[in-house]
Chain length 107, copies 2
């Protein structure tokens, strides 16, 4: 899939998933890669950016299946950010569909 399309939306996807439940990085890679191609080289730097900006926090949990997992939890700021980005996304994809002449009446 066109990698340029993903810019700006992966951040929203990660935040949106973390808004529903805590996840560790590797889990996010697997969850999102069901819908589109992504790799760890994309997710880990993104998680670092989100943490540096105060949108998520992390905590370690030991695992019996391998190395310890670093779980991420969304913050209040992160929730606000999620709502903001979601609004931008909806407005954006509707604009594109309008230009393309695509109408969404049902599935």
């Amino acid at each position: 899939m066109n990698s340029q399309l993903k810019r700006g939306t992966l951040e929203l996807c990660v935040l949106s998933i973390l808004a529903r439940r805590d996840c560790y990085g590797y889990e996010l890679v697997n969850a999102i890669s069901e819908s589109m191609h992504i790799t760890e080289g994309t997710i880990y730097p993104l998680l670092k950016r989100l943490k540096d900006d105060g949108n998520i926090t992390s905590y370690l949990v030991e695992s019996t299946e391998g190395p310890p997992r670093k779980y991420y939890k969304i913050t209040n700021n992160g929730l606000l950010k999620t709502k903001e980005l979601e609004g931008q996304w909806i407005q954006f994809y509707r604009s594109i569909n309008k230009i393309l002449g695509i109408t969404e009446k049902g599935e």
Copy 2:
């Protein structure tokens, strides 16, 4: 609007508009900027890339309202490219909406 979101879609927007009618660059800027913020610094390099790749051709038309206009016309390759990108776009935005839990039943 989030500039990262636009990556990869502006190309499709321009191609899609040119698939319907010939346009000159400044006209495209005005047409697209009705739906989202873009500037000439984005469109002109994009048109050059599309032309270099053989997706569009151009021809000059004199104007009584200012300098001559450079009209762009889509090629057969460009039409194929448009269909390909449109398919990618539809698949993409539906994937995102699925991850976000957004359903499009009607407007």
